[in-house]
């Protein structure tokens, strides 16, 4: 990722469009603070994690400095110098490894931190044993100041307090045992020392928790702001389109629908339907409101007319059942309209004829939309693709507890019946 970005900066620089030094600087700056171009750094939450990871590594470096300081002052007092420096080397190497993993991931890695804690829990008594003196001050035990600072990583890695507390107690137990048994520290000294671990990890946990929640809040508010700006832009665009549609198209449609330019009442009714739809659109009414079944089917039939299918739509019963239409659930309307459209598409594609009859039949118990063609028909048992096609119709109907029956035989057309039971009030 970094390589690509740098080479891009280098390319920009080599084109001579800007100062080469500036280009490189900008790229580096992006790398440290996090830029939108880097997917890991796109959110504040990710940046918070990166900051926490760097903080943990920083404290680790400070811990290692404490060891260096202690060793510089007390090296002469170590009863077993060689193994002691061996331990210091091991601690430093483990710390480098852990820091590398953490920095590379740009966030604290729970698994790495657990292993690190286990290492620390084991290293504390080893250090105590190696440095165990009779009469020196406690700082000879260099693992204490190191682990006290390094344990802050625990607090910032884990989001659950009980995990932090559990791991802290392991370290506390390791320290207290070695301090009391090996260094024979008095309790008045080791008890407050032990408490310092708990204070460090808990405070680190609380600070990290606060930072994380602030990060999330910042992300949420930024997302909301972006969404809002987006909405606003869309709304402006919609309003502009609405004005144009209203002034140029809707008025023409409505004039045509209500005048006597067309002798065909069906065409006028269709124009009126389209005009009503367009008016709803430009006035900002939600268009996906439960549409009227008659309108929905008319739209489907008109759509097929445009692709060259001539459809007789026998809808008198449906037309007269205004009460039923007003109470029909939108899901049923959509399912019936879509399945009808699917059936008509099949006629257009496969029947070999260009005419079909759609009829809406209402009985006391059910509403039936039938689609009939007098085309070539098919044998549903042998024609596999048609089975797939009919499945999409049956499945659509099944979603609204409806039933689709498909009846066809070679040479005798295809009859599709879409039936939905009516809920009796």
């Amino acid at each position: 990722m970094k390589l690509i970005r740098r080479s891009a900066a280098a390319t920009a620089a080599s084109t001579g469009s800007g100062n080469a030094y500036d280009g490189h600087e900008a790229s580096d700056g992006q790398g440290t603070v996090g830029s939108p171009a880097d997917p890991d750094e796109q959110t504040t939450a990710a940046r918070v994690e990166n900051v926490l990871a760097r903080a943990a590594v920083f404290f680790r470096v400070a811990g290692l400095a404490q060891i260096a300081l202690a060793a510089a002052f007390d090296a002469g007092r170590y009863p077993r110098p060689l193994p002691t420096f061996g331990l210091i080397t091991a601690v430093a190497a483990e710390s480098v490894l852990w820091s590398a993993v953490t920095l590379r991931a740009r966030r604290n890695q729970p698994a790495a931190t657990v292993l690190d804690t286990v290492f620390m829990v084991a290293a504390i008594p080893v250090g105590a044993w190696l440095t165990a003196p009779r009469d020196f001050h406690t700082w000879v035990h260099f693992m204490y100041p190191f682990s006290l600072i390094a344990c802050i990583a625990l607090g910032v890695t884990f989001t659950r307090l009980r995990t932090v507390a559990g791991l802290t107690i392991l370290i506390v137990a390791s320290y207290t045992t070695s301090a009391v048994l090996q260094h024979h520290d008095p309790l008045w000294n080791s008890a407050p020392n032990a408490l310092s671990y708990i204070a460090n990890t808990t405070v680190a946990w609380a600070v990290a928790r606060h930072l994380r929640s602030s990060g999330r809040a910042a992300d949420a508010s930024r997302a909301a702001a972006v969404h809002h700006a987006d909405e606003l832009a869309r709304e402006r665009e919609r309003a502009r389109h609405a004005r144009m549609l209203h002034d140029r198209v809707l008025q023409t449609l409505e004039t045509l629908a209500h005048g006597d330019w067309f002798p065909d009442a069906d065409l006028r009714a269709h124009l009126a339907t389209e005009a009503a739809w367009l008016r709803a659109l430009v006035e900002g009414q939600p268009l996906d409101q439960p549409a009227d079944l008659l309108t929905a089917l008319q739209v489907v039939v008109q759509g097929k007319t445009r692709i060259g299918l001539r459809v007789d739509f026998n809808s008198t019963q449906l037309r007269e059942a205004a009460q039923l239409r007003s109470t029909l659930p939108a899901a049923i309307v959509t399912a019936l309209a879509e399945a009808t459209g699917e059936a008509l598409t099949n006629v257009a594609k496969h029947s070999g004829v260009d005419t079909a009859t759609v009829r809406a039949t209402l009985t006391e118990h059910e509403i039936v939309i039938s689609v009939l063609d007098h085309g070539c028909g098919f044998d549903a048992r042998t024609v596999r693709p048609r089975i797939g096609l009919s499945h999409s119709i049956t499945d659509r109907l099944a979603e609204v507890d409806g039933v689709a029956r498909i009846d066809s035989a070679p040479g005798s057309g295809t009859y599709v019946e879409l039936a939905v039971r009516l809920e009796r009030a």
């Binding site: 002798p263 001539r310 007789d312 008198t316 019963q317 007269e320 005419t355 009859t357 057309g413 009859y415």
Partner: protein
């Protein structure tokens, strides 16, 4: 407009003579075109109104009188020309045509004696088939007409008082109507209902009879009045 092609009548006596009444000149020309292409049909007259048609036919010899009249349901206005349907049905067979009729008006036309109903969107083959059926004395029950009739009759069956007018269909007739409205041919209806095609034809005729029952006397009287009016004028 003068009667068309009178000189050909003796040569082709089997031809079905058709007259067209439609106030819309372009629509009229369109129907003429469709019918002219059918070898068994001949358009003998074409006029903008029933009165104009009567005037046109007044000079025609008896053999020139049309077997079928294709009549537009609405002439210059919103009102269906039911009276003309009644009067013309007495003397010839009337096939009603309209771009889209109000169901009640279509039912009215059938009650007044029309032998069929087609919309202006009906395919040319269907129009020719309708004219042939009507010319042979049959009732052309298009899917659109079946759809309208079923809706109208079911609605009218609700108040019992209306049943006297012949609206009550038997379940088999109702089923026939429903299947034809879905687009099935008479043969397909027969297969579905597990009866012969002749039985289906009978059901269709019964439906027609129930719709037009009690109308014969009225029709005859109206036709007589109409003809006497025409002969006076």
């Amino acid at each position: 407009m003068a009667p068309l092609g009178d000189s050909r009548i003796p040569e082709e006596p089997e031809m079905i003579r058709v007259a067209i009444v439609d106030d819309h000149p372009i629509a009229r020309r369109g129907i003429e075109q469709v019918l002219a292409e059918a070898p068994a049909l001949r358009v003998v007259a074409s006029a903008e109104s029933p009165a104009a048609l009567a005037a046109e036919l007044s000079g025609a010899e008896p053999g020139g009188y049309p077997d079928v009249m294709v009549l537009d349901l609405y002439h210059d206005g919103e009102e269906p020309c039911l009276e003309a349907v009644s009067q013309l049905s007495a003397g010839t067979r009337v096939l009603v045509m309209s771009a889209s009729g109000r169901p009640a008006d279509v039912l009215g036309a059938i009650r007044c004696g029309a032998a069929g109903y087609v919309t202006k969107q009906t395919s040319p083959e269907m129009i020719v088939s309708a004219v042939e059926t009507v010319a042979a004395g049959g009732f052309y029950l298009s899917s659109q007409l079946a759809d309208i009739l079923q809706a109208e009759l079911t609605r009218q069956q609700a108040p019992p008082a209306r049943q006297a007018r012949g609206g009550d269909l038997s379940p088999r007739e109702e089923e026939t109507l429903s299947l034809i409205a879905r687009g099935f041919t008479h043969s397909q209806v027969a297969t579905r209902m597990k009866v012969s095609k002749a039985t289906v034809d009978t059901y269709v005729e019964r439906i027609r009879a129930k719709l037009q029952v009690g109308n014969k006397a009225e029709l005859t009287r109206a036709a007589l009045e109409y003809l006497s009016d025409e002969s006076v004028s």
